[in-house]
């Protein structure tokens, strides 16, 4: 997989040099080996900081909202999941597609830093990645893991493939997930209402309203979020038991319903490890069950399930899945 990094870097350098693009949107090395962050590179010397590896989990498409407006083309590397977000943002007219040079890049799942830390790994010196397993080198020691042990939750169930790109960098077929994407949703549905309530109360009580989920979410791309807009009637920060505080996550999930591509960034970035993607996935599961399979971002034209209907749709009284 080290080869992918080299190829990507090479591609970036070439396209910058020949003037095809004015800048490159990619991932930048951090201090600890795993703390990569999205970055824009303007020159070959800038690109020294570029890296694509098992920690390049961040979805770059949302950054294109701003980057694609600027002068000149921007090169972006899109993992399979990112390419869905990209399409969705194009559909919503948030990305100027003509200003973007897309390079699809192979991904066999990215690693979850929280899971590594649980396994005692605090610093990463290197990663040897294969399709189904991975070796992490930390302070001179080698740790070998089966992928499922250390993958980000979103990656362990990922069924996505590369959708739209000008070019592609790929050396292997994408691994097929071994877990069912809706397994936990189904488990929750099978619980009693009391149990579900206890579960969610426990999870959502951890929220510190840092807004990381909202800031990273490619579907949360409003110019100004309703929660920041006093006139919307749902933002009222001064009030201690305010509406916003309590129901933020439900409303956020509803706002992105039918538009959420299930990229899983919300859960990845949550500092409190709240499984926020389970809210979105519930909507996705209901949409698939009630209105037919729908994958947001699969293309950039199809109407979303909440902006369409059929006259024979299920009645709200008969839509409940699972246990009462």
């Amino acid at each position: 997989m080290q080869k992918l990094n080299e190829l990507a870097l090479e591609k970036a350098k070439t396209l910058l040099a020949n003037g095809t693009v004015a800048r490159v949107l990619g991932w930048k090395k951090g201090e600890l080996g795993y703390d990569l962050e999205p970055a824009v590179f303007y020159s070959e010397s800038d690109l020294e900081g570029f890296i694509y590896n098992a920690f390049s989990g961040a979805n770059l498409s949302k950054y294109l909202i701003e980057e694609s407006k600027k002068e000149g083309k921007v090169l972006v590397f899109l993992k399979p999941c990112d390419s869905y977000s990209f399409n969705q943002l194009v559909k919503e007219h948030r990305i100027v597609k003509e200003n973007v040079y897309t390079v699809g890049i192979e991904c066999q799942g990215k690693l979850d830093v929280k899971k590594l830390k649980e396994k005692g790994i605090e610093i990463v010196d290197g990663v040897i990645e294969n399709v189904d397993d991975v070796t992490v080198i930390s302070l001179g020691k080698e740790y070998n893991f089966v992928k499922e042990e250390v993958l980000l939750g979103k990656c362990s169930v990922c069924e996505k493939h590369l959708l739209s790109y000008d070019e592609v960098i790929s050396l292997h077929d994408k691994r097929t997930p071994k877990l069912d994407r809706f397994e936990i949703v189904k488990k929750l549905e099978a619980m009693t209402a009391d149990e579900r309530y206890a579960f969610w109360k426990g999870e959502l009580s951890k929220c510190i309203r840092c807004n990381a989920c909202r800031n990273v979410c490619p579907a949360c791309n409003c110019l100004k979020c309703v929660f920041d807009n006093d006139a919307s009637g749902i933002a009222s920060k001064a009030n201690s038991d305010s509406f916003e505080e309590k129901l933020f996550h439900i409303i956020r999930a509803f706002h992105v319903a039918g538009r959420c591509t299930d990229c899983g960034e919300c859960s990845r970035v949550c500092p409190q490890a709240i499984p926020l993607h389970l809210l979105n996935r519930k909507f996705i599961s209901d949409i698939n069950r009630l209105y037919g399979e729908f994958q947001a971002g699969e293309d950039d034209v199809t109407k979303g399930p909440l902006t369409a209907y059929t006259t024979g749709d299920a009645e709200p009284s008969e839509v409940f899945g699972g246990n009462k």
Partner: protein, 146 residues
């Protein structure tokens, strides 16, 4: 289920579309078909005007039940509004259920301008159901840290 206080009266918010259900409520009135005073109606042009945030806000402010009434599917004054409302409410209600909120606290009913009797019957039934459930504590409590 919590114990129900003896004189407990629930607070019920009914969103009614102007053309069918609000007219149905008016017909219930002119036909003197009673339903509990706990039901308070908010007039909206169409069921598709009902934003999930209205419902959540009502719950959070202390409503015990929220009901949305619109024209029968196929009869929408704006041709398609209730079809959109039907999808939205289906997903929202299913989500509330998923969060462990009692599913009987929310309801959608299609009531035409001619169905005064149905309007009254629906409100009586809904009020009874919500009274049996008792006070809504769950949505009020479902919150992030203050």
């Amino acid at each position: 289920m919590q114990e129900i206080k003896k004189d407990y009266k629930p607070l019920i918010v009914a969103f009614c579309c102007n053309w069918c259900s609000y007219a149905g409520a008016d017909l219930a009135g002119s036909s003197r078909l009673s339903y509990p005073a706990e039901v308070k109606i908010i007039r909206v042009p169409c069921s598709c005007r009902v934003n999930p945030t209205f419902i959540l806000k009502a719950f959070q402010r202390g409503a015990d039940g929220v009901i949305i009434c619109g024209c029968h599917p196929g009869d929408c004054h704006y041709t398609s509004g209730n079809y959109f409302a039907r999808r939205r409410m289906s997903l929202l209600f299913s989500m509330l259920d998923y969060l462990g909120i009692e599913r009987e606290r929310t309801r959608v009913e299609w009531v035409s301008a001619a169905e005064g009797a149905k309007f009254s019957a629906v409100m009586n039934d809904f009020a009874k159901t919500v009274t049996e459930l008792g006070e809504n504590k769950r949505l009020e409590d479902l919150r992030c840290k203050n």
